[in-house]
Symmetry: C2
Subunit: 432 residues, 2 copies
């Protein structure tokens, strides 16, 4: 029996670690509570009806089925027994490890307003994406039915809280839907009348990007008709709209649909892990790690991706897919080197750049010394994402789907689905 590696989480970090370890003399168990890997940078395309969930998800078993010494387990790790070196699942079963890699990512943070979670869904899971898709489409449907002017206006107002890449991409896609995709589909409303607000607390949208790209992104959004509000804080959210505070002044925006793209915090397992190992999580709940991504005093415990607090040149590395991939590969290399009694240099994040699309044909990009925006940036975005999706078995279909949608101005996956809706129906019918 070889060295036993348990990987918790099958996102970009966990999956890349598992793939790399497939070539080594180790027994790997990958545990995830979902049976698929999710290409989360494209989740906003599911939320806006361009892609189906199946097109951006790959069954973990299938991705790893050639690695005969890799086992995939559907389950949720809720605790860890550091002394016996076992992770503990929600059904109380235990899996022993010699080295464990934790990669369960992050979840939304509503900044001490947990009651906002229901009112303003975020975009982390497939279920989030299909729920948001239903909300967006239902807003137009309800506006079509409503004859009251004020109500209709609120139905057609969409507020996106958070001006990072997710918020910007959502706002752009939503503008495209209302201006382009739905044009001609309704009889009582004009979908292009939709008001889209993007609220950002910092001085600029895309605050982590170079300033002139933020300016370019804001210009692109304005061209699409999106109202950006920077240096603005959301102070209240309810069923009827949001209250925004900017320049000492509070404004009310009546809106039936509010989406959350603001804060994230480490997944709850980070807290458990910190407690069991005696380290102190950072402000976002992340586990602080050593230069080799292990927990202080526990070289056998590695933490990677969004749940790791790793400072480089005094700054936390960004919470994006490339960081997780690089850390996943590093963790695999570290384990291999240790088994060979070889040294490993500390982890170093290599910044390949940042990219965000803004609707059709526009994007902003920062790649090495190059900073550019517009159509060429959009082509770059397309190319980079297609390259990454090469990891996916259905990559070619996404290309076909995108090409089809691009030329027909259509989004095929415009389905209002969901248990909730169904239950309502049953309940309603029960009354008859």
């Amino acid at each position: 029996m070889g060295h036993r590696v348990v990987i918790v989480g099958g996102g970009f970090g966990g999956l890349y670690a598992a793939k790399q370890l497939g070539r080594e003399d180790v027994d790997v168990t990958l545990i995830d509570r979902r049976n698929f890997h999710l290409f989360s940078p494209l989740l906003y395309q599911v939320a806006t009806g361009a892609l189906s969930p199946g097109e951006i998800a790959s069954p973990l078993r299938y991705v790893l089925h050639r690695q005969k010494r890799t086992k995939v387990l559907l389950g949720e790790v809720v605790d860890i027994d550091c002394e016996r070196r076992e992770v503990i699942l929600s059904d109380q079963s235990r899996i022993a490890y010699d080295t464990a890699i934790f990669a369960t990512g992050s979840t939304h943070s509503y900044f001490n307003h947990p009651e906002w979670a229901k009112l303003a869904p975020g975009l982390k899971t497939v279920e989030n994406a299909t729920a948001i898709r239903s909300r967006l489409l239902l807003a137009f449907e309800n506006a079509e039915k409503d004859s009251d002017h004020e109500k209709r206006r609120a139905e057609l107002t969409f507020v996106i809280v958070g001006g990072g890449p997710t918020g910007v991409e959502l706002a752009g896609a939503l503008a495209e839907i209302s201006r382009d995709t739905l044009a001609g589909d309704f009889r009582s409303i004009n979908p292009a009348d939709a008001n889209i607000f993007l609220i950002e607390g910092e001085d600029w949208i895309l605050p982590s990007y170079p300033p002139h790209l933020s300016v370019a992104a804001e210009a692109s959004l304005t061209r699409l008709g999106v109202h950006t509000r920077t240096k603005a804080m959301v102070t209240d959210i309810d069923q009827e709209g949001v209250t925004v505070k900017a320049g000492g002044q509070e404004t009310r925006i009546p809106a039936k649909t509010v989406l959350w793209a603001a804060g994230v915090e480490a997944s709850p397992l980070a807290k458990v892990l910190a407690q069991r190992t005696g380290v102190k999580p950072d402000r976002a709940g992340r586990v602080p790690v050593e230069p080799d991504l292990s927990i202080a005093g526990h070289p056998e415990l590695l933490v990677i991706g969004d749940m790791a607090a790793f400072l480089q040149d005094g700054k936390q590395v960004p919470g994006v897919a490339p960081t997780a991939m690089q850390q996943g590969r590093y963790a695999a290399k570290l384990i291999r080197n240790r088994l060979r009694n070889e040294n490993t240099n500390p982890f170093r994040y290599f910044d390949k750049g940042s990219l965000a699309t803004i609707g059709r044909n526009a994007a902003v990009a920062q790649i090495g010394p190059f900073r550019f925006s517009g159509w060429f940036a959009w082509l770059t975005w397309l190319f980079v994402h297609l390259m990454y999706i090469v990891e996916f078995e259905n990559r070619m279909l996404i290309v076909v789907q995108w090409a089809y949608d691009y030329f027909t101005h259509n989004r095929g996956a415009r389905l209002i689905t969901g248990e909730e809706e169904q239950e309502n129906r049953v309940r309603r019918r029960g009354r008859d």
Copy 2:
């Protein structure tokens, strides 16, 4: 203002009526509680992970967006006011008609055992399909985790109740998944060990098909390892399995997954409609109609598709998509002719034949005088379905997806998703 036609239901019948009426001098309102038309003959492919819901659904608005005098409304019709000539929606709003076409289809019938609905889900909606997909995949996941032999056997036993086309297609696809798609994905179990039972009350599976095709279908299923049980009635279903009565003998099949493909009955609106017009529904709850598909004494009320009781040569016309399409087109023609004061011959169903696939490469077909099975029948099935999907904007993508799956032996959309699962997670996490 022209003649007002209200169409209730956007399935095959309602959609074809709406399309045909788009060319006439009438104002059409199509009301459906879903925002999309569903290509339901391919629902089993969603349930078995071959296609995504978005690939077999088309937004009704998009399908009809060029018909400027056609309005699409998201809503559920729950009643009708025959005197004022208005249909009544669940939100109590009313829509006036000069002619109304009812086409809300059918739902499952559990033969006086409503408690079986939760235990043995049927396959009518997108939510049904994704729920079944989750159940099937979870069964293999649970078997991989369970070390108890008996439990594992029950996890890997699948019972399909009803040997009509849906049951046969589900059984074939499930056999293909366990023998082919999942091969090599698991470490503790062999997915090919799965036991698949198909239970049919009549003497043969596919009882509505010519006998020698039923024999061919059964032979194909047996080759795939499916156990068919004919002249067998399900007398009990619970969490642990089903009880089957055949030849006076009761047998117990321990099984964790039971799927319902047996009875159907008309949608609940049929009952309301019969009550308001004073006609008596047939045994399956369908509304009896005149030779021109109208309700006796109400020439302005037409009923088409699965909810209409229409006898031809003394026999109810089959509850399949072609019947609904033909009746939809007939209803449109009838309305046009009436406005022109022209007569219309009574409706006559033209039987184009029957087709059912059995896993990969096999099918049975009856087309006019031709009855055949095997690979050529499968090609015919493929061709016919591709032709019909030409109505769909994303037809080409299905071709690509099928070709891809066929050659790679893969099914890309193998996702375990759903609100329920998510809620469980939240609840569990709340305990930590």
